[in-house]
């Protein structure tokens, strides 16, 4: 297996690890902001997966220069999808943080267990 192939697997594994790290934070942390950070990590792992699959050996960014013949381009489609996904991610994050702020105002804490005790 050549270097590129190894790197391919390595990419996917890193994706898996980051995904799990993020999810772990979401599941196991009590602090709501920490949960949100974990969520954003979790999501960016998925971005990595998509972008990894768009790479073409010896390819360049899919921007067609005039008059240059026979270039290889990497796959533009996953990039488009991830552009969308990134913005979706940040939107969710903003909303979540707004909620956290309000929760902090109503409950005086942002630790989940304390909030549950409060009600």
């Amino acid at each position: 297996m050549n270097l590129l192939e190894l790197l391919g697997y390595f990419n996917y594994w890193v994706f898996a690890i980051i995904l799990t790290v993020g999810l772990y934070a979401v599941i196991n942390k009590n602090n709501l902001i920490k949960k949100l950070i974990g969520l954003s990590i979790f999501q960016s792992a998925v971005f990595l997966m998509y972008i990894t699959m768009d790479k073409v050996e010896g390819g360049t960014a899919p921007i067609i220069q005039e008059g240059v013949e026979g270039q290889i381009f990497s796959n533009p489609l996953p990039q488009v999808l991830i552009l969308t996904a990134i913005v979706v991610g940040v939107s969710t994050l903003a909303l979540g943080l707004a909620l956290v702020v309000r929760i902090n105002e109503c409950y005086g804490t942002i630790e989940e267990n304390e909030i549950l005790d409060a009600d």
């Binding site: 996953p78 969710t92 909303l95």
Partner: protein, 496 residues
């Protein structure tokens, strides 16, 4: 192109574009009027589309004129039409009734944002329903989710906030899982168009990623659809949301996710994953049965009215999944018709709850004494919808129960056991509905005494209307049944 050809796009665009406009509508009531108008328009569009597809044809619409699989296409078939009717109908009805209740629960200056969020939620759900492109579904799923977080966060007391946060967490995880699954499939097929996926998954040799993808998509959507073990966000979210929001979301939100799930499992994975029947029998059916029994049991001992109904919603989702898990035409049409009938029954119930909440601050059963005296019409409507939920003959609920039992009988050796389970759960439904009825009718009245103090007429009329619809579709269910049957046969062809 004539107007009819544009309808699939307009179905999404009308509510979507009305959202920003509504933000600008400041003066009192205008925002509500705008939202209602646009909801009614899109309901009309949905009806037109339904009439167009009743004869079993499928409408395709190529966004930007780019053909599938390169561009994004919308497709409307019988099942889609059914869902469109449910979503737009629920939204329109809820909005028509909403004004008094919303005025009570949300400050006037925040209302434009609220109604605009409502429009976004609706357009998101509609967008999911009509989309024929896997990634597009993700985008609109996010629109609807974000919007519904906003709607629920409008809830009166502070407990709404943690509920929304939990919903946001689980919803985002679900969406991201779905995204991973779609990514894996895209990786193996190189396409995002669902029909195209189905075609190309056939000749995928390395099955592992597809299996994992199926797992991710199923789990992700199950999270959004509140299928049994993943339902934990539902009770709080429904309980603490503004009452009209509960009407809208309980009627259609989870069902849309379930619809996508069924579509994926029947249309796309069927070709790739051999022995689908087994897969369903192993996973979906036990979950469905557990969900039905556990959630009903929880509802039997729940003290808060809205929470009780929320648990029953989880059980009803179980019914729909159960029907689908028979992997037979009969089962599918049972599911499809239950999608419709449960929306009707549960919508009506939550409308009645909204009426009650107008007079009663505290919605615990123990606090509702003498309601039948103070709000006789509301209670009558509640009883009718409750009977429909139980599945008493003559109401809409009975039709789908009957279909479901028939399907169970045909579903092989275990048929009788399934019938038994369905009947037992129906009896549980009798119990928890009757607990409410007794609370409403035979409990010593609270200090307000028994002067008639009904909810505002606007709210009341709509509630009564829905109750009547429950009976009407129990006696004349031809149209929804026709839709359900053609939808079922459609899915069935997809599965073969």
């Amino acid at each position: 192109m004539d107007l009819l050809a544009h309808l699939p796009a307009l179905q999404v665009v009308v509510p979507m574009l009305s959202a920003p406009l509504i933000v600008l509508l400041q003066p009192r009531g205008l925002a509500w009027a705008g939202a209602t108008a646009s909801a009614l328009v899109s309901f009309a569009i949905a009806v037109t589309l339904t009439l167009a597809v009743l004869d079993g044809q499928t409408l395709e619409y190529a966004m930007g004129g780019w053909p599938a699989p390169f561009g994004i296409t919308l497709s409307v078939d019988a099942l889609t039409a059914l869902m469109l009717l449910i979503v737009t109908g629920a939204s329109a009805i809820a909005l028509l009734a909403a004004k008094p209740s919303i005025d009570q629960q949300i400050e006037l200056e925040r209302q434009p944002l609220f109604y605009s969020a409502w429009m976004l939620a609706m357009s998101g759900l509609v967008g999911i329903v009509v989309a024929a492109d896997a990634f597009n579904i993700f985008v609109f799923m996010e629109i609807s989710s974000l919007a519904s977080y906003i709607l629920i966060a409008g809830g009166p007391d502070r407990r709404a906030l943690p509920a929304v946060f939990k919903y946001l967490m689980m919803g985002t995880i679900g969406a991201t899982f779905y995204l991973i699954g779609v990514g894996l499939i895209y990786m193996m097929t190189g396409t995002l168009n669902m029909a195209d996926m189905e075609a190309r998954l056939g000749d995928v040799t390395d099955i592992n990623p597809v299996l994992v993808a199926a797992g991710f998509i199923t789990i992700g959507l199950a999270l959004k659809a509140a299928v049994f073990p993943l339902h934990v966000w539902v009770p709080n979210a429904y309980t603490h949301a503004p009452h009209m929001v509960t009407v809208f979301l309980a009627a259609c939100a989870t069902k849309v996710a379930l619809y996508v799930l069924i579509r994926f499992d029947y249309m796309i994975f069927q070709a790739a994953l051999v022995d689908h029947q087994m897969q369903f029998a192993l996973f979906a059916m036990p979950l469905a049965i557990l969900g039905i029994l556990v959630a009903s049991a929880v509802a039997m001992f729940e003290g808060n009215l809205k929470r009780l109904l929320a648990s029953s919603s989880i059980a009803q989702i179980g019914y729909i999944l159960l029907g689908a898990s028979f992997v037979s035409i009969a089962g599918l049409s049972a599911s499809a018709s239950h999608l419709f009938n449960h929306a009707l029954a549960k919508g009506g119930l939550f409308l009645a709850v909204a009426c009650l909440a107008y007079q009663y601050r505290d919605l615990r059963l123990s606090q509702l004494g003498g309601a039948s005296k103070r709000m006789p019409w509301t209670c009558a409507a509640f009883v009718v919808c409750g009977l429909s939920l139980i599945g008493v003959p003559g109401t809409a609920g009975f039709i789908s129960k009957w279909l479901l039992i028939n399907a169970a009988l045909q579903s092989g050796p275990w048929g009788w056991a399934l019938v038994a389970i369905i009947l037992v759960s129906s009896l549980m439904a009798v119990v928890y509905i009757w607990r409410i009825v007794e609370a409403l009718y035979f409990q010593p009245p609270t200090e307000e005494g028994d002067v008639v103090a009904e909810a505002p007429l606007q709210l009341l009329i709509i509630t009564g209307l829905v109750a009547i619809l429950n009976i009407y579709f129990g006696l004349f269910p031809q149209v929804p049944l026709e839709l359900a049957n053609s939808a079922a046969s459609l899915l069935w062809e997809g599965a073969q």
